[in-house]
Amino acid sequence: MSMASPVRLARALIWTGVVAGLTACGGPQVVSAQQQLDTPMTPQVVTPAGPSPEELTRQVPTLRPLPGAKPVRPAGYQAAAAAADPDPAPIIAEPPAPPPAPAPPPSDEDTLE
């Protein structure tokens, strides 16, 4: 019986390690199609990267609001007492349009023509 060569010994050790490793990991698992169908799909839970808006709201003071608009018409506007009806006198005093001038009587020349 001859002694095993160091090379063979090394190969045997390597294969032993590989087999032991595969055994420890449970080895390649064969899952049947039926098993796949029977296993319910579970949604992946995504962990938020930062705090939620609610958490942020709790962590910092809430900003106080903006002031109101500055519109053309101020709130509570009251027209000045001077805003009374304008005096109609200028309209009344306005002279009327002169009546259209009567057509001149036809001259003799017009009649002749």
Partner: protein, 417 residues
């Protein structure tokens, strides 16, 4: 013109000119002469019922839309009946509006007057829209009458009439009349009166006297500027594009020309002209609020910054810069803006509080605590500020130092020389 009408004028001219408060016996005002059948039967929000006419005089019994020309004011036809002796003069005053079948209200162009005679007659007057989103009704639509309750609108319409009346005497020095040609304004003077003179439309009466009228476009924009939902320079450009078919450049130029007069008119009746055009801080401030309302913090920030630049003493604009910067995620800019706002006269507790919020975001707890303490100085009952102060500075490191103990009064020792 008939002899009867001439008789009216002679009768009117013979009598003493009526004072502003009293009514001439042969003059009626439209707002007081609306027949019951023409009044809007249902209560309209923001409007009332016209006063019931009493005594003899003109009675308006019908109103319908009439064909209008191009971009001019909408025209309506009034049916007038005369009760009692005539003829009479009907002043188309401010006080009533005409409500179309779509529920929109139109107000008369100021300064119109009609001579009413005969049992029944038809007269055309011009009217203006009171809200921007108001399409012209088709001709021959029946109209109802409502009483205006809007003090600002009535004041504006009356002021227009007052200007038109006084302009021929007050502004005559800017008007040039040559021969039979139309009056023109040609002046090198630059002041408000000269600007007003060049903006008005000048003509001459049959007697040769000067007559000034407001241009319809500018008057319409001035009325729309009172819209409670806001109507500013930018909206005016859009309105001209939509209703007059102008291009952007033409509409912008038209509005730019009209802005000084619109602002002058608003100012004369005690309104805030700074909210209308982009030359003022208030305009940009309001635009900023609109941008914030639609969730555009970046655009709002630009507007608020423009407002703060145009009016550096505007504390609210500076405060708003802080809010917009905060909403845009620029917390350091927000803290800086709030700092400026807190240093201005009349600084509010909210400005200190918001600075604290911005500093909180920047993780400057002690800085936030100092701002919260100032908030509590101005608003001692601010529970939020007190609660946040406890969280920001639980150890009280920002608390003011206790006052020094009072010195004990001991017997003074006299120094011996």
């Amino acid at each position: 013109m008939s002899i009867t009408v001439l008789g009216l004028w002679i009768a009117l001219l013979q009598g003493a000119p009526p004072a502003a408060s009293e009514h001439h016996p042969q003059v009626d005002r439209l707002s007081a002469r609306i027949a019951a059948e023409l009044v809007e039967p249902e209560a309209v929000p923001g409007y009332g019922a016209p006063a019931r006419p009493s005594g003899d005089g003109v009675m308006i019994t019908g109103a319908r839309t009439a064909p209008s020309a191009g971009t001019d004011a909408l025209r309506i036809t009034l049916t007038a009946n005369l009760v009692g002796a005539g003829p009479r003069l009907l002043l188309v005053d401010a006080g009533v509006g005409f409500r179309d079948p779509l529920g929109k209200v139109w107000v008369p162009v100021p300064g119109q007057h009609l001579v009413i005679q005969g049992a029944e007659s038809s007269h055309v007057i011009r009217v203006l829209p009171v809200t921007p989103k108001q399409a012209r009704p088709v001709p021959n639509m029946p109209l109802r009458v409502v009483a205006l309750k809007d003090q600002a609108l009535i004041a504006l319409l009356r002021e227009v009439r007052r200007i038109e009346q006084s302009a021929p005497t007050d502004l005559a020095r800017y008007v040039k009349v040559e021969g039979d040609g139309p009056p023109t304004v040609d002046t090198a003077v630059v002041n408000r009166d000269a600007m007003l003179a060049s903006w008005l439309v000048w003509s001459r009466t049959a007697g040769g006297a000067l007559r000034a009228t407001f241009p319809v476009r500018g008057l319409t924009l001035a009325v729309l500027a009172l819209d409670p939902h806001g109507f500013s320079e930018g909206d005016a450009v859009e309105w001209l594009r939509e209703h007059e078919g102008l291009r952007v450049q033409g509409a912008t130029e038209a509005v730019t020309r009209a802005v000084p007069l619109i602002e002058g008119l608003l100012e004369r009746v005690g309104l805030n002209p700074k909210g209308f055009s982009s030359a003022h801080a208030d305009y940009h401030f309001n635009e900023g609020l609109r941008a914030m309302a639609r969730g555009d913090a970046a655009a709002a920030l630009t507007r608020f910054e423009a407002a703060a630049r145009l009016d550096p003493k505007d504390r609210e604009a500076r405060y708003a810069v802080g809010v917009a910067a905060y909403r845009a995620g620029k917390f350091q800019d927000a803290a800086d803006a709030f700092l400026v706002a807190t240093g201005m006269q009349g600084a509010t507790a909210d400005a200190h509080y918001n600075r604290a919020a911005a500093l909180y975001r920047l993780d400057d707890r002690l800085g936030a605590a100092r701002s919260l303490r100032r908030t509590l100085t101005l608003a001692p009952n601010d529970e939020d500020a007190a609660a946040w102060l406890k969280l920001a500075d639980p150890e009280g490191r920002t608390a003011p130092p206790p006052p020094p103990p009072p010195k004990k009064r001991g017997k003074r020792r006299r120094r011996t020389p």
